[in-house]
Subunit: 214 residues, 2 copies
């Protein structure tokens, strides 16, 4: 009995992980339950033993993908909270742009999420607020907390939109794709009262996605 | 012969229009060629007489949708170019958020576009550059053109991401959805050296999507 419960939990986790990866790579509408089941090493029927619908699995996978992406970002300097410049370097990196399957689930599905159901909207809202809260704490020297909140909301919108546009332009115009990452990083860095460019230290310290400026 | 040519052009236009509307509403992966053909009043086979593939139709529909959205925005004050505040009021409006099928094709498909082919990336790049150029011209009092370009790129990323996030949060948290539109409008307005809020005139003059602040 104990092994069965463990196996059940293991299968469920395998489904969520496979779904989170495939949805980020191909989009929610771009992947079917058959493909997810197969990637998890299970049958189609087994998926429905765990989730009543594709939507229910998508909601769980979105939370998993957001938590995973968030953890990767927040833990990239263990022991202290990152600076705004470091968050921007990490998020708006070529590495993030080039690896949607393991990147931010919000950016990967941004324009698809509005077409999904209320349960997915609720999960997205949690992840969005967490990201906004993180950026808000990293904003410095602002006259009011209301202003910090507005700037953090705008920064997250620009980060999500920036990654989506960098991916969308990449096949036709790689130089523009790179330019988008650099521009959004610089301008959002200035929003927080920091200048990302004149200080080379935080930029050089971030390994992920460090690349030549165009 | 002349009528046949006209009818051919008419059918092609009907397909592009139907595709542009349905792709913006349901996503590129969320609509099949059968549904598009039906919406255009044509058979499945007729579609392939005009376009070699769904991707080819999607590229054409993206251009059509971007041109249509751009025209709607640029013509909302005939006779003169809009101010930055007016562009932001128009784009980041509840009306735009609530009507994806007739809104900006870039925002409607933002995160899907990176998964499409090079032809779609090329069309997206054209539309993205046009939007960036428009915002860049509307930016005032900036020390350099390089700075204006970077801010315009960031503004477009935030506009696209802002609409996507306002749509994504709306079902679960309508107040947050409204807050996103207001925040992105205000912060981007400040980027251009204008303050959107203290001057009521430009905001009140814009009819589309004018709504109570939360």
């Amino acid at each position: 009995m104990r092994i069965t419960k463990e196996k059940t939990a293991e299968n469920r986790a395998a489904l969520v992980q496979a779904a989170a990866r495939l949805f980020r790579k191909h989009g929610i509408d771009g992947v079917g339950v058959a493909e997810i089941s197969k990637a998890a090493g299970l049958t189609h029927g087994a998926l429905y033993a765990h989730f009543p619908s594709k939507e229910a699995l998508a909601a769980e996978a979105l939370s998993h993908g957001m938590a995973h992406g968030y953890k990767a970002m927040a833990s990239s300097k263990a022991g202290r909270e990152l600076t705004l410049a470091e968050y921007l370097e990490f998020y708006l990196s070529a590495a993030h742009r080039d690896n949607p399957a393991v990147g931010c689930a919000i950016a990967a599905s941004a324009s698809e999420l509005g077409r999904q159901d209320a349960a997915i909207s609720a999960r997205l809202t949690e992840g969005f607020e967490r990201l906004v809260g993180t950026i808000e704490r990293a904003l410095q020297d602002l006259p009011s907390r209301g202003q910090a909140r507005q700037r953090a909301v705008t920064a997250v919108a620009a980060m999500v939109g920036g990654i989506a546009m960098a991916r969308a332009t990449q096949k036709a115009n790689p130089a523009l794709s790179d330019e988008i990452l650099v521009a959004v990083r610089r301008v959002l860095g200035e929003l927080g009262g920091e200048s990302v460019e004149p200080k080379p230290a935080p930029a050089a310290a971030s390994g992920a996605g460090r690349r030549k400026k165009p």
